[in-house]
Amino acid sequence: MALTRRQFLKVAATSTVGAVAFVACSTPQDEFLIQSPVKMPEDLVAGADNWYASVCRQCPAGCGTIVRVMEGRAKKIEGNPLHPINRGKLCARGQAGLQALYHPDRLRGPRRRVGERGSGQFEEISWDEGLSLLLSRLKELQGKGQADTLLMVTDPVDGHLALLVKRFLRAFGGQHLVYEPMEPTTLTTSLQRTFGQDLIPHFDLENTQFLLSFGADFLETWLSPVAYGVGYGQFRQGNRRRGTLVVVSPRFSTTAASADEWIPIKPGTEGVLALSLAYVILSQGLASPQVAQAMTGGAGVGALESFRPEAASTITGIPARDITRLARDFAQQRPSLAIGGGPAAAQSNGLFNLSAVFALNFLVESVGQRGGVLNNPSPAIPDVGPASYNSLADWVGLEERLRTGQPRPVNLLLTRNANPVYGLPSQFASALSRVPYIVSFSSFMDETTAKADLILPGHVYLEEWGNSVPNPGPGFETIGWQQPVVNPVGDTRSFPDVLLALAQGLGGETERALPWSTFRDMLWEGAKSLHQRGSVRAADFESFWIGLLQRGGWWDTTARGGQQTTKAPVLPREPRLPSFSGEGDFHLILFPSISLGDGRGAHLPWLQGTPDPLTTVAWQTWVEMNAQSAQKMGLQEGDVLAVESPVGVVEALLYLHPAIPPGVVAMPMGQGHDAYGRYAQGRGANPLSLISLPKDSDNGSLAWAATRVRIRKTGQRVKLAKLEGFVTPTQLPGTEIVPEAQVTR
């Protein structure tokens, strides 16, 4: 029985105990009446705020946003509750977008290089001057018949912008390369091969019962984290039985932390495990006979003999017993879903791994089923689709082209918000310097822009028009509509508007291909084909357009992806094992930071100051090493370690990680910028410089999880900037901080 203060006072007053003392110590009645003695600003602010719907461009997922604007200033970005991708939610990176808009180191106007290339010396010029400089270059190329020596390098562009770029280059000539460090070509290729679809399907994890992820860190950065986050919440505690998540991965990722079970695996052997699961499922008769026939090419389970759990166990390092158990759970707790990505894909045998993983979905008949893999329909507006990507092979080809000038040199490079100089191995940067003239449309001074001869800075996404075709989509036709929410902060211009202006200036075919004076006009016209159906109903197009902007996009929940077109694939009979570069004792796994991503968020102090969920480190680059093995090596937290691969050395701080496998070290991407503003510059290390070029042997994308490294102590020590405290945080016995419930719902 608890004694309240009031009761106590009553009792105290009836006793002869000096009542005065207690009354003096009690809560004076007035306390409850006290209100703020000063007017707080929240009582004073005059005026109303406006909310504008738009699209988040902090990563390619294409979440819908609504932005709060007061007195012409953007104050807060929230998720658009209507948008089917993110359903009102945003991730940390989406939240931080305002700092890109109001960044002190934004490029605020056109500049021309005056010093040596790369010296960082520029002079400010006017837009007229800048545009005419570029136009004269283009005209010169045109005149010399060298239009095909134009190269455009951009971040992944989608929607009408992609169309605009395509048309521009088709009319003018030249090549377009999309730069994305975490390029998903292995993923898209394997999806294409497995499901016969160009678009990434909708993984319906909201409705699945058993989710098996092979390195696909869908709660961090994989494809569409907010969409998956919303789905995951429902998967855990929606109005149905709680789903089970098992993560197979060589590193204990944040996604693995949320799993019911994490199975550490030897890097690059995920495909073997997947096929071993298939073996168990088939041999135990857990798959339907038709499927079994189809997927073994009629040979039956004997075809998979080399993937017996015992055999797979030695390859993957996972006990055979666990493989069998996992296979049974996966086959029996339907609907089940297998996804793969991340370190499983970034291997020399990445395509093999992912294809094997995705094939599992056929085995449990989840393809095309609720809670399984659902097709996404092709874009609502023909030709206006999601971004396409280039793989490492394309970049290697480019490097050779730049170096040799064969088959054609590159005479003019246009780049926009892509930073290959930061993300690609250094030989690429030096090759790039051979291009005689580089023009950057980026909003920030990054490593690539620093090499430019002319900078025509673009808007930040909150200032410009656009639309987005999310990939993966939500399973039905969806286009997000992006509108400027504030007037431009600096003297910048929207990249598509500049392209249109160039087209006008060039005249001729280019002008005919792009007959719009502003990108908004192009969008306006493009939206017309959406008018008569979908989420926005309006009598006339004018009102439709307004409705489209108010809702931040358009979607048609009835326009779903078609039935599966391909048949179940035949499973390979022989394992394909990974090959690694480097000889060191540790296998290096890189991972994109949940806040900085591949490094694109590094310029925003909010994201820099966001602790990594697992290590809680912020602002720095660290090396995750198994706590016990590190201590055996005499290492301590904060030791500056030199991590050596065949192609480079980087220095980073040791974090003693209790959950990483002993032979593995992991490092976050995102830091180590030479440029990119005051918050990113000269901070941490870029572990991408440790990656040589082992490519996926099938489709040539970068195998960034296939390097072995040596670890050396430099003798220095730096204090880790982390949120967690002095001791390794665990729940003390007898305390209930994060208790577990055994209930199953």
Partner: protein
């Protein structure tokens, strides 16, 4: 005490993935100072909501548990009686509120907060001028030397309540949300009026998984947690 409102939050630990979206959202909404590298190294980051991560077990049978922690808006708040100047007090809707201009910076309240939910402005925080554009006009920018903490986004509550009052009604469930709740991708955070028997929080606090942090201290938190679920019987 208010007849209509008693604000509460439910945190479903089984949903939380530790993604930090709430952490950034709160900083954006509430004009939190930029937490520099040094602030982490000297252990002074300003995070009204933070994600604590606890390890359980040993490799390879190891688990990480995420615990979103914010001011629990204690019904019986130990931070209140110790403040010599009434800079922190209880308002009519059961919230523990902080009056910045009154605070003299003794930090007594922070010592007496069992949840370490209070944060002190050790230095004068600055924003590069252009960044100040995004500052929320509804939230005070705090100078150095004073205490601050999660307010349950009280400015949002006030505005919504004032509007509802103008329309002669009480707030509907879900009509107003704090920034952290609004952004949480997994819906691990749910906010609402505990006095409204039909609100989502009112039904969620009945969940068999519910618990409150350090309940034995008698602080009567307004934040209720739902336990992490471990599938029964599975050996980890």
């Amino acid at each position: 005490m208010s007849e209509e409102y008693k604000w509460g939050m439910v945190v479903d630990v089984d949903r939380c993935t530790g993604c930090q979206a709430c952490v950034v959202a709160c900083q954006v909404e509430n004009n939190a100072p930029l937490s520099s590298e040094e602030s982490f190294q000297r252990r002074r980051p300003m995070q009204w909501i933070r994600i604590e991560r606890y390890w359980e077990g040993e490799y390879p049978h190891i688990k990480a548990r995420f615990l979103p922690l914010l001011c629990q808006q204690c019904g019986n708040a130990p931070c209140e009686p110790v403040c010599p100047v009434y800079a922190t007090y209880h308002n009519r809707e059961g919230l523990n509120v902080q009056i910045y201009p009154r605070c003299i910076g003794t930090r007594f309240c922070a010592n007496n907060c069992p949840y370490n939910a209070r944060f002190f402005n050790w230095v004068e925080h600055q924003w590069p001028p252009v960044m100040a554009n995004y500052l929320n006009p509804h939230v005070t920018v705090r100078p150095r030397g004073i205490m601050e903490k999660c307010t349950f986004c009280i400015h949002r509550l006030h505005r919504a309540q004032r509007q509802a009052k103008g329309e002669g009604r009480v707030l509907r469930d879900g009509e107003v949300q704090p920034a952290c709740v609004q952004t949480c991708p997994t819906n691990a955070l749910v906010f609402g009026n505990l006095k409204d028997p039909n609100s989502r929080v009112s039904s969620m606090v009945q969940d068999e998984r519910h618990y409150r942090l350090l309940e034995e201290l008698g602080t009567e938190p307004s934040v209720v947690y739902l336990k992490k679920v471990v599938p029964g019987g599975r050996a980890s």
